[in-house]
Each structure stands twice: as C-alpha cells, then as structure tokens.
C-alpha cells in the first residue's frame, strides 16, 4: 500500500516560487500544507509516499529545492529517500534533480556537524 500525491491535482498545476512572500503556490506552501503532512502520515503508517510530478506547467528550481530540500533540512534525509517515490514522465530529469536537493541538504547537515 502507498499514499499517492499528485502535485498538479492536489496542489497546483502552476507551482510557483520558493517562499510565500514571493507569490502564490510556493515551495514553502506546498511543503508545509501538502508534502509534510503526507510524509508524516506515510512514516506513521509505514507506507511509501508516491509523488506524481506530471501535469504541471513546469517547475522552478527554487520551488523544488524549497519543497524537498526544505523537507530534508527538517527531517532525516535518509528516511525521506526511503519513504518517497517520485515519478515524472513529462520531465524525467526532475526526479534526479529532486533527489539531488535532498542529498545536498543531507551533506550540508553532515558538514555542519563536523564544523
């Protein structure tokens, strides 16, 4: 069993900027109101969180970084990689891009601990 989440259907077909103060449908808004609750529910119930990125007009880098990198700055990045499955037929390279943001956040955490 898995929890399914479609960014276009459950949030917006027009994902916006990084932060709420910049405009509507921001990465912060998505993370706080949609992604984080779904992620916590998936962890709590031991399910996978399957995120469908298709159907949106496009994604700004800062939206994706804020949503997924932001989640990895708050929670264990290893747990996020274990729990979340991303699919994007429209632009398959986005999956690696998002995984990259989660890993960057993990590396940043490690570096901070070493400092």
């Amino acid at each position: 069993m898995a929890i399914n989440l479609s960014i276009a259907k459950d949030f917006s077909e027009t994902p916006g900027p990084r932060s709420r103060e910049e405009g509507k449908f921001s990465g912060d808004e998505f993370r706080e109101e949609v992604l984080q609750p779904a992620f916590l529910k998936a962890i709590g119930t031991g399910q996978l969180l399957e995120i469908d990125m298709d159907g949106a007009v496009g994604y700004a880098t800062s939206f994706l970084e804020s949503a997924f990198g932001g989640l990895a700055r708050e929670y264990d990045p290893g747990k996020i990689i274990e729990t979340i499955r991303l699919t994007c037929k429209d632009e398959p390279s986005l999956v690696n891009e998002v995984v990259g943001y989660i890993r960057e956040a993990r590396d940043e955490k490690v570096q901070r601990r070493l400092r």
């Binding site: 077909e13 916006g16 900027p17 910049e22 007009v57 496009g58 994604y59 700004a60 429209d90 632009e91």
Partner: protein, 305 residues
C-alpha cells in the same frame, strides 16, 4: 495683522507657475533592438530619461527598419516610470517594423500622431507585476505558443520557459531591489511568431541588477578592485554556479545556472542577457562590456515547437 503683513503672507504663498512642458523630438535608432544594437539603444534610453524629465517627448520612428519585442518591453518599462511625461510617436516607413509596432501594443503607451490602421493589435502579450505570478507565466506561454503554432502544446521548451519566468520573477525579490523587503516591478512579453515558428520571450527588471546583489568573497572583491575581472566575467561565473547567492545559503542561487543549462541543452534558444554593463549572447559564448550601461536586467530567449 496689518494690511502690509497680510499682503506679504499672500506674496510668500504665491508660487511661480511651472514652465509649460514642450514636446521635443527624439530620433529612435534605426535598429530598435537591444539584442542587435545594445550600445545605441542604451544611449537612446539615457536621452529619453534626460529629456523626458522636463519635456514631453515626440519619438521619430520613421527611419526604423528593425524592431524586436524586448526593446518594446524595455521602452514600456521606462515609460511607466515617466508618468508626468507624454510620449507620442509616428509609424515607421518600413512595413515589417510598422507591423511589429502595431501588433505590439506599443501605442497603448505612446500616443500616435497619426490615426492607426485597423487590424490585429496587441498580439504581443505584456504583463508586469511585483509578485511571482505563476498563472501569469502560464498565460504568457499559452498565448505565445497558440499564436506561433496554432494550438496549445506542452514541451520541454514550455517547461523550461515556465521555470525561467518563475525564477526571474523571484529574482526581482531576491536581488533586483538590493534589499530583501523592497521589490522591483518586472515586465514580461511573449510574442508568437507564426512565420518563424518560434515564440519570443522577454523579461525585464529595472532594479540594481545581478552584479550588485551577489555575494563575493574578500579575495574576489580585492581581485576585482585591482582591475582583474569584470562584470562580463562575473556573469559567466554566476551562470556556471560558481558565485554564492547574496543570502549566503548554499542551497540558494540555482535559478540562473539552471536557465543557463536549459539554454545549453537547447530548450531555451537564442538566450541573451543584458545586465548593467554586460551584453551576453549565451549560445555564441559572447560576453562583452558595454560602454553605456543598461539600467537593470533584460533576458530574451526564443522557443521552438
């Protein structure tokens, strides 16, 4: 209060009337195109600002042989900051230039001195705002794509354009105003060229630009003060992701490098960046310093089907 005192007070309150503004002629460069003729265009914008401060302006467009949409966006942005100045203009003799001008919505901002012919006006979609407007980005793309190709399509090019528009709108918050809470307006246009089967996009802000808002290390700053390196070199480094964002946060500042990558990958064609004293023709690797700086940042690119 004596009569004399009252008369003096009245006299003190009296202000001389402002001298009536006159129309002064301002010739427009024959190549009205920032991407093709940046130096002359920047001089033109400087003259427009200087003469428009105390006069109304009469633009002489008769000799114009080439007009591109990013130049119209830049002129529109400039005119919006000169609200007390009336700007009027005539039509170019050249038919192509005349058609672009008529379709652009140019005469919504400039008063025509002759009656305008009937036809399809306002073909160039123009928007301005101070917010990141995702729905506006979509609207611009859909308008340009349907004009150029006759139907609405989604492609790598439309997704790259959407990304670029959102990032550039966001940058007017992050860097164009210099301070976090001050936000500069932006202008964006989309023009669907059905003949060339291309959509031409331009995005413009008139803030402090890219260079004053990046974070440089003390070494980089000293290096530049000693005369090594210039803004053209700095733009290359920003696009390559080598310069930290002003926030100092390692996960910020990825927007411009991603736009550059999409240009290198061919999703965004003919990308030009004109920022302050730098002119960059990205696909051809041309980065040069302008003698007359551009007041802000302009991005221009095209998309194929």
């Amino acid at each position: 209060m004596s009569d004399l005192q009252r008369r003096t007070r009245v006299k003190a309150r009296y202000k001389a009337p402002r001298p009536k503004r006159k129309f002064v002629d301002l010739p427009v460069p024959a190549k009205f195109s920032i991407i093709n003729n940046p130096e002359e265009m920047n001089v033109f914008f400087q003259k427009l600002a200087r003469r428009g401060a105390s006069n109304h302006i009469s633009l002489d467009l008769t000799g114009v042989s080439l007009i591109t949409t990013e130049a119209i966006a830049a002129l529109t942005a400039k005119l919006s900051s000169m609200r007390s100045t009336t700007v009027r203009g005539n039509l170019p003799v050249d038919n192509c230039a005349r058609q672009v001008l008529l379709q652009s919505g140019f005469f919504e901002h400039v008063r025509s001195v002759t009656p305008l012919p009937q036809g399809q006006l306002g073909k160039i979609k123009e928007r301005n705002s101070k917010q990141v407007e995702a729905t506006t980005a979509r609207e611009l793309i859909e308008c340009g794509v349907s004009q150029a190709f006759g139907n609405l399509i989604k492609s790598d090019a439309t997704r790259a354009t959407y990304m670029a528009l959102i990032e550039l709108m966001g940058n007017t918050h992050n860097h164009a105003s210099g301070k976090r809470l001050e936000v500069e307006p932006w202008w964006a246009t989309a023009y669907g060229d059905a003949v060339r089967k291309r959509v031409c996009y331009s995005f413009l802000d008139t803030g402090v630009g890219i260079f004053k808002s990046v974070k440089m290390s003390p070494f980089q700053r000293t290096f530049r003060k000693l005369g090594f390196g210039n803004n053209a070199q700095l733009l290359k480094e920003i696009l390559a992701g080598l310069i930290e964002s002003r926030t100092g946060l390692p996960y910020r500042g990825k927007g411009l490098p991603t736009i550059y990558q999409k240009s290198q990958g061919g999703d965004l064609k003919s990308l030009f960046i004109i920022a302050n004293d730098v002119f960059a023709d990205i696909p051809n690797g041309v980065y040069r310093t302008l003698e007359t700086p551009f007041p802000g940042t302009l991005f221009y690119w095209e998309c194929e089907e």
